[in-house]
């Protein structure tokens, strides 16, 4: 609903309903969940609502958050991207293997993984967009290929870099105005994708394709390039995450990115994106990512074991989505 005079927005969401409080609550459901959890945690622990702890949460979620933003863009276009974990691993491993010990190599260790990530994404997008192939199968296939190639490249061994340049270290460890640098990356990627999806023709078309590709084609949208772009965005996002992760860890297991696709998808789903495409909001995904981060943080504050975290995370996911779904049913 970008502008008041938009006739399509007018028809989809009538003016009278736009100010309806119930609708607003159900639409912004995920933020309410986040707020409720933050209130609860602040009441339970005095250590939660401190600037340093909140910044810590933000820093910790930024890696999975950047991935999730890419995944939601693809999902709005009606497709899945299950290869992001592999792409993240690829970017991280290549970034370390470039050995960023001098300025030129530092530049390479950022640019090469980024290019590879975009390449993997574009390949996914080309196969899915041009051939209209099943996105789950294609991206799972790509996941196998990329993971295999990474393991082959490093012969299954850990990779490490010593004496990395301060600039490279600052990518994950630096602070600007008291806020960790990865948070800026996260917020920048989120803002950029939100802008793309809400204020540009690109976003409109991707949404249209996700809603009904046949209809989008019939009104003259070239479906394939848009799908390709969404995957390129997702690949780029995953590789940015990989580079940040590499800069943080610097001693990498070549299977480091396994499972990131599901964490990202969980956040996206918490953010209320529709899995069949056409609906989804980058900012809601941000909220979903923050919810996951707040849960993990709360668990750590109370010293609960990791396995218990998994359990609680799953329960909250199901509960939030079930409540959200029942709300949408009521709205209908």
């Amino acid at each position: 609903m970008s502008s008041e005079s938009d006739p399509i927005a007018e028809r989809v969401v009538p003016r009278s309903r736009r100010v309806n409080l119930t609708v607003l609550i159900w639409r912004e459901w995920v933020w309410l969940v986040l707020a409720a959890m933050m209130v609860l945690l602040s009441a339970l622990s005095s250590n939660f609502l401190t600037t340093s702890n909140l910044l810590n949460v933000l820093r910790q979620v930024s890696i999975v958050g950047i991935v999730a933003v890419g995944v939601v863009v693809v999902l709005i276009g009606g497709n899945f991207d299950l290869s992001v974990g592999a792409t993240l691993t690829l970017a991280a491993v290549v970034s370390v293997q470039m050995q960023p010990t001098d300025p030129v190599r530092t530049a390479l260790s950022i640019l090469v993984p980024l290019a590879l990530g975009i390449g993997v994404g574009a390949t996914n997008g080309a196969i899915i967009g041009l051939l209209r192939a099943n996105s789950i199968i294609v991206t799972v296939g790509m996941q196998f290929v990329v993971t295999g190639c990474v393991l082959l490249y490093v012969a299954g061994q850990h990779v490490r870099v010593d004496n990395a340049t301060p600039f490279y270290l600052a990518l994950s460890g630096g602070y600007l105005l008291g806020v960790p640098i990865p948070v800026y990356f996260f917020l920048f990627v989120t803002g950029l994708c939100h802008f793309l999806m809400t204020r540009t023709l690109f976003g409109r078309y991707v949404r249209a394709i996700g809603g009904n590709p046949e209809a989008a084609r019939l009104i003259g949208v070239a479906v394939a390039p848009y799908i390709l772009f969404t995957y390129a965005i997702s690949g780029a996002a995953a590789s940015v995450s990989g580079i940040v992760l590499a800069s943080r860890v610097r001693n990498l297991d070549p299977t480091v990115g396994i499972g990131y696709e599901f964490s990202a998808l969980t956040a996206v789903v918490l953010g209320g994106a529709r899995l069949s495409g056409g609906q989804g909001d980058v900012l809601h995904t941000l909220a979903g990512v923050l919810i996951l981060g707040v849960i993990a943080n709360g668990m750590r504050l109370f010293n609960l074991p990791f396995n218990m975290q998994l359990l609680v995370q799953g329960v909250i996911l199901v509960a939030a989505v079930a409540l959200g779904a029942s709300g949408k049913v009521g709205e209908r």
């Binding site: 009606g78 196969i127 051939l131 294609v138 082959l152 046949e214 899995l275 995370q313 049913v329």
Partner: protein, 334 residues
Amino acid sequence: MKLTRLLGQRTLWLLMALVVWVSLFGRDFWTLANLQNLVIALSVEGLMVMGMTIVMIGGGFDLSIGSVMALSGVIVVEALPLGKPVAIMFALIAAAAVGIANVSLISGLRVNPFIATLGSMIVVRGLVMTYTNARPVPASDPTFMSLGRATLFGGLPVPGLIFAAALVLTHLLLTSLKIGREVYALGGNEESARSSGIATYRVKMFSYLICSFTAGISGIVLAARLNTGSPIIGENTALNVITAVLLGGASLSGGVGSALGSFGGLLCIGLLGNGLNLFDVPAYYQRIAQGVLLLLLVVLERITHRPTPVSVRGFAYGLQLSGQEPGGDAAGKM
């Protein structure tokens, strides 16, 4: 099934090519030991492929099977002191409970199946990990192993027998029983299925229960084979199983697929892996080869079958992997 339609199936051609390839060039393919290993490996996943086929024909999705496998494996091992039948019953009840929870979320609360089962996947895994403290539980009863390792009729492993029974049952169920036709109708169009008087809730309950059940049995068989209840098994199972089902001609939007097709998909993946093993191909190359096979299949499919405009409902956009028609013509699309 008519011969022409059979020959039109890409999985079948691929399968034949794979069989020729491994039997001509793989030295030890036709040895009893290799075939037994292959049968056991395929059976554990194959059971779940059958359950998943029913769920996916009904337009559903189940990501939780890997976690259910771990759950039932751990429970059966923990409950062994009570006697084998009781232990197996407990494990199956636990598996069924997960299935009922899935359906309650999907049907009762109208949560998307993908999300609901993603949630139960995480919750069940968390439960198992918390309970076992992420450590494998060794089985105390040596006779329990026989369930996974014994052979019958001069060499057929017991898991293979269980799987063969599951395959036949699933095929009969989908082709000849009323509930099978209702599963196709549900997947074809839920709204019209409901309008035409099908109790969609019951059909869903049935399909998810069967799927969880097969995962439970797989978990028990695997635990018997390993003589251990492992909380970490099955991490990748769901995706592998879904891939096999999709290769076999099912679609994410439901309404199409068949037990035999899924069996073909399973065999393709299994034979490829086995062939690569026989050629001593390193594990990393195998991963790449599997990925390339998947990509090639979809690409070939799309090049040989130019995409026709499909009526788009939910996932339906270009998702039908194989040109296969609905397994049962009349009730498939209503």
